[in-house]
Amino acid sequence: MYTLKPSFSKTLFLKSPLLRSSFKPQFFPYTTQISSPCSSTPLSFSISCKLKTSKDGKSSKSLAKKIVLSEGAPAVSEDGAGNGEAQPKPASKGGGGGGGFGGLVKRFPRKVLSLLSNLPLAIGEMFTVAALMALGTAIDQGEAPDFYFQKFPEDNPVLGFFTWRWVLTLGFDHMFSSPIFLGMLALLATSLMACTYTTQIPLVKVARRWNFLHSAEAIRKQEFSESLPKASVQDLGVVLMGAGYEVFLKGPSLYAFKGLAGRFAPIGVHLAMLLIMVGGTLSATGSFRGSVTVPQGLNFVMGDVLSPSGFLSTPTKAFDTEVHVNRFYMDYYDSGEVLQFHTDLSLFDLNGKEVMRKTISVNDPLRFDGITIYQTDWSFSALQIRKDGEGPFNLAMAPLKLNGDKKLFGTFLPVGDSDSPNVKGISMLARDLQSIVLYDKEGKFAGVRRPNSNLPIDIDGTRIVIEDAIGSSGLDLKTDPGVPIVYAGFGALMLTTCISYLSHTQIWALQDGTTVVIGGKTNRAKLEFPDEMNQLLDRVPELVESSLSKQSDAISG
């Protein structure tokens, strides 16, 4: 008897109506053998379909189409094993033929669905996304239009055609938020959904069914096949079970599988990708961001800093919280390099009550009621000095840009008559809060002092004590409702990618007299599979004559 063997899943891919109608009759042996509770309705349905197809070719096409249209959508959501997996593909074919206007409207989504689930299209989309991203890193992002006028001039286009007009009209100056890129991602997402719906779920439905093969030829046709003389299928079952297979035995036939999760996992990968995309969209539309540089000792209100990023951004009560920067300080290595930045923050609610206090640092943000405060930057706010015993004075430090990215701050203390047209004075420069370099009126190096050292320095008759260096902390604030969803997607993606590495292996065996015919196939680890099988089969014990007769009795009985 020829049953539905899983290689039939291949026929799903062959877009030929002939093949489809030819496999329909094969449902009978299968559905009658394994009593599945849901298979009764699809069974009757497929009978009618088969009868119609056998009549004549011309009317069968339209009939099949009609059935598909009315029956196709629920078939997939249904848990029925017999019908669901066959439906989506024929449905897409049904859309190909001509029909009434009403049919066209109904068919349209299916047509789009089958178009979107097309693998070459999906691959093309991925290539496009990759190319756009590469372009996005090649073109400097977020510059002023003038920059692009100079970089991509019209009289000397890159590659002969690429000018600033291209960059600006296509939005390549802000690639990762440009309509083209986002549209491509959205298209990819719909392809993902369509592919999961029309291809992957049906594939799993095929794979999930366990079925027996009842003919030795069918077993020998598998990718791996072997026959063991003087063996019993029961012993094989025990060996397979020991190797972690799920084994089903029915009379002389055996079916075993392992790693079914490996079949399911790619769906999980796709769903996780979609989850990440949903989370990303939520992040883009519903978050608040802001950054602020606060000198030590000052405070700010969260709501003043945070600005919405999209139409879904709604402020919460926590936005009224006031943040006070108690202290900003740095840790240093012995060599003088910065080890870590710390900011001691206090959070006060509207009544002035402290609700939270934490010292944040890079990699250790503060989280309060959905708002996260990050340590991202720093600056030199002021220098507190004592001049000739007077003071203390606060001198504001100005950031200086010299060649290179390194930070440099400077301030100037006028000496003598400050009303004269060319004021002279002492300059103080600092790279960090650790040490201040002082220069005299002529610009000559005068000395280096550490704050808090209380060691005075005399320059041009002025005695200066550097009391303190006041830094300001650069903080980033954000609320992001998408993060939990994105993290869930990340977790799911990691897990399902790992599971996807597993190979789904199926083994069939049949007791043929004293010989056991074994066949098997696997979807990923194809080359290791024969070795693995041979090792397993070596462990199957050989039967001696006396037990052989018993064996055959047991089978016939």
């Binding site: 291949k10 891919f13 693998l119 999906a122 691959i123 991925m126 290539f127 996304v129 990759a130 991203m133 590469a134 996005g136 890193t137 992002q141 690639m175 990762f176 990303g280 992040s283 961001r289 290595y333 060599s335 390099e337 910065v338 080890l339 870590q340 930045f341 640092s361 890079v362 990699n363 250790d364 943000p365 996260t372 990050y374 340590q375 991202t376 930057d377 720093w378 990215d405 390194k406 930070k407 790279r431 960090d432 980033d476 954000k478 992001d480 993060v483 994105v486 993290y487 990340f490 993606l493 990691m494 990618t497 790992c498 996807s500 590495y501 990923r524 680890a525 194809k526 080359l527 290791e528």
Partner: protein, 322 residues
């Protein structure tokens, strides 16, 4: 000081052992397969593995953090990954063609890492604030392991492409030859030749059979290794995203390095998808994998050499990004 001496010694030992291993490989390739030699080359690779492991451990001890903070250290880790990819199948008794690729890859990375190009980077002992996190180990080790596996897999695909195209060209030549022969010879000679041709073709077909089998094996191994690398790359990118959300305030910044890692991921996702469809030829997926090979190098080196974005840890002490 003792640590740096030890490190120096280990570097040189591993480098020279890998060179010897490659020489042995060449000898077995050119002369004949001598089992003893093959075995010794495997032992050599194991020795290399332990040397590089020792190197990483010494560096770990005297720096106080896992040595993955700059290009030099990540290159050492890359060659360590190559050697571990080499060794795992050896212990599982799988004979495969990976060894021919992993050993040279290991020597190239090791050689490049220890060469003068990167000497001034050797002594960087500080870890910038952004890198001081438990995520460093997870993220970078997964990324580099992923790169190593993907590089191996895509190299196998490149080998597959080379063999396939050479075969195609040969067959083309053979066909032309055959046609010329059959037209130029007269009837009797042709009959005589017929047998020869038959023999020739059968010989050819046997060779073609082995070649096809070899191509199939290459294809399979590159698929398996790339899937493994893809897994590591996924975990690496995602853990990097989680880390970025802790350190930089957003899980995705479209930073050049991030973007290129994502491009790499996309390319290998394309590769895995081409594999699911039987209609695509083996060569097509191999072409995709070879593209991936180039893109990994852009991602791994190109972005760092340009020194753009948040991932540029070569030259920085007081960057505005902390």
């Amino acid at each position: 000081m003792i640590f740096s001496t030890l490190e120096h010694i280990l570097t040189h030992i591993s480098f020279s052992v890998v060179s010897i291993v490659i020489t042995i490989h060449l000898i077995t390739l050119l002369v004949d397969e001598i089992v003893g030699l093959y075995d010794s080359s495997e032992k050599g690779m194991i020795a290399t593995f332990f040397c590089i492991t020792g190197l990483l451990v010494t560096r770990w001890i005297y720096l106080g953090h896992f040595p993955l903070s700059d290009l030099y250290e990540s290159l050492i880790f890359l060659s360590w990954s190559f050697s571990i990819i080499h060794i795992v199948p050896y212990f599982k008794k799988h004979k495969n063609h990976l060894s021919a690729l992993t050993a040279p890859s290991a020597i190239f990375t090791q050689g490049f890492a220890t060469s003068g190009l990167l000497t001034e980077m050797h002594q960087s002992e500080i870890l910038v604030p952004a890198l001081q996190s438990q995520w460093l180990m997870m993220h970078v080790s997964m990324m580099v392991l992923g790169y190593a596996a993907l590089l191996c897999g895509s190299l196998l695909s490149v080998a597959l492409l080379v063999i396939t195209f050479r075969q195609d060209i040969r067959i083309l030549c053979k066909n032309n030859h055959f046609l010329n022969k059959s037209f130029s010879f007269d009837e009797i000679q042709y009959m005589n030749k017929g047998n020869n041709v038959l023999q020739n073709t059968s010989f050819l077909s046997v060779r073609n059979y082995y070649r096809a089998q070899f191509i199939q094996q290459l294809d399979h191994w590159s698929y398996r290794v790339i899937s493994l690398g893809f897994l590591f790359l996924t975990i690496g990118i995602l853990s990097g995203a989680v880390w970025a959300n802790e350190a930089w305030g957003s899980y995705w910044n479209w930073d050049p390095k991030e973007t290129w890692a994502f491009i790499t991921w996309t390319i290998f996702a394309i590769y895995l998808h081409t594999r699911t469809n039987k209609n695509f030829q083996v060569a097509n997926s191999a072409i995709v994998a070879s593209m991936g090979f180039l893109i990994i190098w852009i991602c791994y080196f190109g972005v760092n050499l340009l020194g753009i974005g948040l991932h540029s840890y070569g030259s920085f002490t007081f960057s505005s990004n902390l």
